[in-house]
C-alpha cells in the first residue's frame, strides 16, 4: 500500500538510504495542498464542534481515532497503563537518548531517569512498583534487547540533518474548538525550500502491528498542515528486528488518511476508549 518499502537492515548506510530516499526524485511542494487539506478538514469536522458549550475544552483528535477510539468532548483520554505501553514509553526515551547522545548506558535506569527529568515519570514509576519481580526482570530484559538493537542498527545522523525528537504537533480547527495532535518520535531534514525535504520516523511499538502505519500517516498529515509542505518520507524503525519500512509521502496517502480521520471522527459513537476516572490524570502525566 502506498509503495511502502520494507528492508532488512544490514548497515547504517541502509537506514540512511531509507530515510533519505532519492533526493533528486523528491516532489516539488504544492503550497495549495496543505491549504486544501485544511479546508477539507474544516468543512468535514466543523459539525462536531456545533453545540459545544461555550468555554468547553476543545474536542481532541489523535491517532487513536483511526483505530476505533470515539471522538468526544474534552481532552483526549490516555489509555490505561499496561506493560506494553510502559515498554513503548521507555523505549521512546531510549531512542531519544541514542539519537541525541549516541549512547545508552543502563537501559531501564536511563529511561526512567529521562522520563523523570521530563516531569512525566511519576505514573510509570508507580506502575512499575506494582509489578512482580519476574515482570520487572522481563521488562529489563526487553529494554536491554531493544537498546542493543537500536545501538546496533541505528546510524549516527549528521547534525546537519537537524534531527529533533519528540516533536509535538497540534493543529487547531474550527476556531480552536477541535484540535488534532500527535508526537513524532524523530523528524529530520531542513524545512522545505520548494522540494519536499523532511522525513519523519516512528519507533515501532510492537513488531508486526498493522495499525502502526495508520498512525505514521496521521502524523504525516499533521506535519503537512503544520509546515505547509508534505514530508518527503515516513519511516518505521523496529529496534528488535532491525527492520526499517519507509515510504514516500504522497498526496494520495495524505488524502486517504484525511478521509479515514473524517470517517472515523464523524461516525456515531462505537466502542469508546474507556478510562477509569481515577487513572486518567496518572496516564496523562505518563504518556
Amino acid at each position: 500500500m502506498y509503495g511502502t518499502e520494507h528492508r532488512r537492515l544490514r548497515t547504517a548506510a541502509d537506514v540512511l538510504a531509507a530515510l533519505r530516499g532519492e533526493p533528486a526524485g523528491r516532489p516539488q511542494v504544492d503550497p495549495a495542498l496543505a491549504g486544501g487539506l485544511r479546508e477539507w478538514l474544516e468543512d468535514e469536522l466543523a459539525p462536531l464542534a456545533l453545540g459545544l458549550p461555550a468555554g468547553a475544552p476543545p474536542i481532541a483528535i489523535d491517532r487513536r481515532v483511526l483505530t476505533g477510539a470515539t471522538v468526544r468532548e474534552g481532552p483526549a483520554c490516555e489509555p490505561s497503563l499496561q506493560l506494553s505501553l510502559v515498554r513503548t514509553i521507555l523505549s521512546r526515551m531510549l531512542f531519544r537518548q541514542l539519537v541525541t547522545t549516541g549512547r545508552i548506558g543502563h537501559p531501564l535506569e536511563d529511561a526512567l531517569a529521562g522520563l523523570a527529568a521530563t516531569g512525566r515519570g511519576e505514573a510509570v514509576a508507580t506502575f512499575l512498583s506494582t509489578l512482580s519481580v519476574a515482570e520487572r526482570s522481563q521488562l529489563r530484559r526487553d529494554l536491554s534487547d531493544r537498546a542493543a538493537g537500536m545501538a546496533r542498527h541505528w546510524p549516527t545522523l549528521a547534525p546537519t540533518w537537524l534531527p529533533r525528537t519528540a516533536e509535538h504537533l497540534t493543529i487547531p480547527l474550527a476556531g480552536g474548538r477541535i484540535t488534532m495532535s500527535g508526537t513524532i518520535d524523530l523528524l529530520v531534514g531542513t524545512p522545505s525550500q520548494g522540494q519536499a525535504s523532511v522525513c519523519l520516523v516512528e519507533l515501532a511499538a510492537t513488531a508486526g502491528r498493522s495499525d502502526q502505519w495508520l498512525g505514521v500517516r496521521f502524523l504525516a498529515l499533521l506535519e503537512t498542515l503544520r509546515s505547509g509542505a508534505a514530508p518527503a518520507r515516513a519511516a518505521v524503525f523496529d529496534p528488535v528486528t532491525g527492520e526499517v519500512a519507509a515510504e514516500e509521502v504522497t498526496e494520495e496517502a495524505l488524502c486517504a488518511t484525511l478521509e479515514s480521520v473524517v470517517r472515523q471522527a464523524t461516525q456515531p459513537a462505537r466502542a469508546a476508549v474507556t478510562v477509569e476516572p481515577s487513572a486518567h490524570s496518572a496516564q496523562r502525566r505518563a504518556a
Binding site: 541525541t100 531517569a113 527529568a117 516531569g119 529533533r164 525528537t165 497540534t170 520548494g194 505547509g228
Partner: protein, 303 residues
Amino acid sequence: MTVALSPMCLPRARSLTDALTAPSAGPAPVLDPVLRSSLSDGLARLESRLLAGRRLRVDEYLLSTAGAYGPTAPGSASTEPFRWSARTARRSVGLAAVRACYHGIHRTPAEAVAGVLERLAEDAGGSTGRGGSLGRWLAGLPSGARAAVQADAVTWATRLHIALDWDSLPPGTVVGGRDEWWDCPSARRIGLRGRAEVRTSTAGGDASAAGPHRPVLFCLRPGVPGPTGRTELALPALVAALASPTGAPPARVIGWWPACGRAIVLEVDEKVLTRAAASVVGAVGARLGAGLGGGARKEATAR
C-alpha cells in the same frame, strides 16, 4: 493591528523574517503618561490583596491562565515553586545554542546544545557554579536524565533555528538577551516581565541603537495561540515601553507557534498598549481574587 501570516508562504523562515524586519508604518507611538500612572494606580489597589511577603510576577503565563484558573489561594498569588526540569531548562540551553549558531560558533543546534551543556558542566565544577544553578542541577543528574534535557533543548533550539532566515537579520540582533522588567513604582511587590527570544530592528537598522529603524521582537510560543495570544504578545511591548526612558515601544512583535505553524504579527500602537495594560490589571485581579469585570478593568486603566 494584528495580522496572521499565511501558512502557504514558503519557505516559512523567509516570510517570518520579512514580516519581522519590514519597515514600520507611521510614527512611533509613545506611552501616554496617563496610561502609565493609571496602570500603577490599578496595580497599587490590587497589591493590598497580596499576602505579606509575597511578590507577583506578571508574565505571559499569568495572562494566559489567570482567567482560566482564578485565584490560586486568597492573596497568595503562589504557583508551583520553580524546579529545574527538561522543560524549564530547554529555553535557557536552547537560546544559548541558537546564539552560538548565529555567531558562527557552531553550525547546528545539536552541536551547539552539546557545547552549551559541556560548558555548563565545566562551570558547575568550578568556582562559578552556584547552588540551584542550571549547571549544578545538570551535574547532579544521571546520564539518562541529562540526555532527556539535551534532547528537549535540541528540539526547542531547532524550532527557533529554522524559524528565521538569520543571515537576513540586521546587525545588532540579539538572541535571547535579558528579560525586560518593570516594577510598578506604587506597587513594589508586583513586577511585569517582558520576554522575547529575538530582539532586532526593522530592515536596514541597527537593533542596538536609537534611530529611524525601530526595535522589533520575535517570540517563540508553545502550543497553539489561545484567546489571550495577542495579549501575551503585547506584554513585552508594554514592558519595553514602561521600562524605556523615552516610553517608546517596539514597532511590532511577532509570535510564532511552531507546534501548529501559526504566526501572528502584532503592530504596536496606542490601542495595543492600552488593551495590554487593561489585561494586566484584569489578570492580576483575577489571580488575586478581586474579580474585576470588564468595566472595572477599564476604570483601573482609565485614561
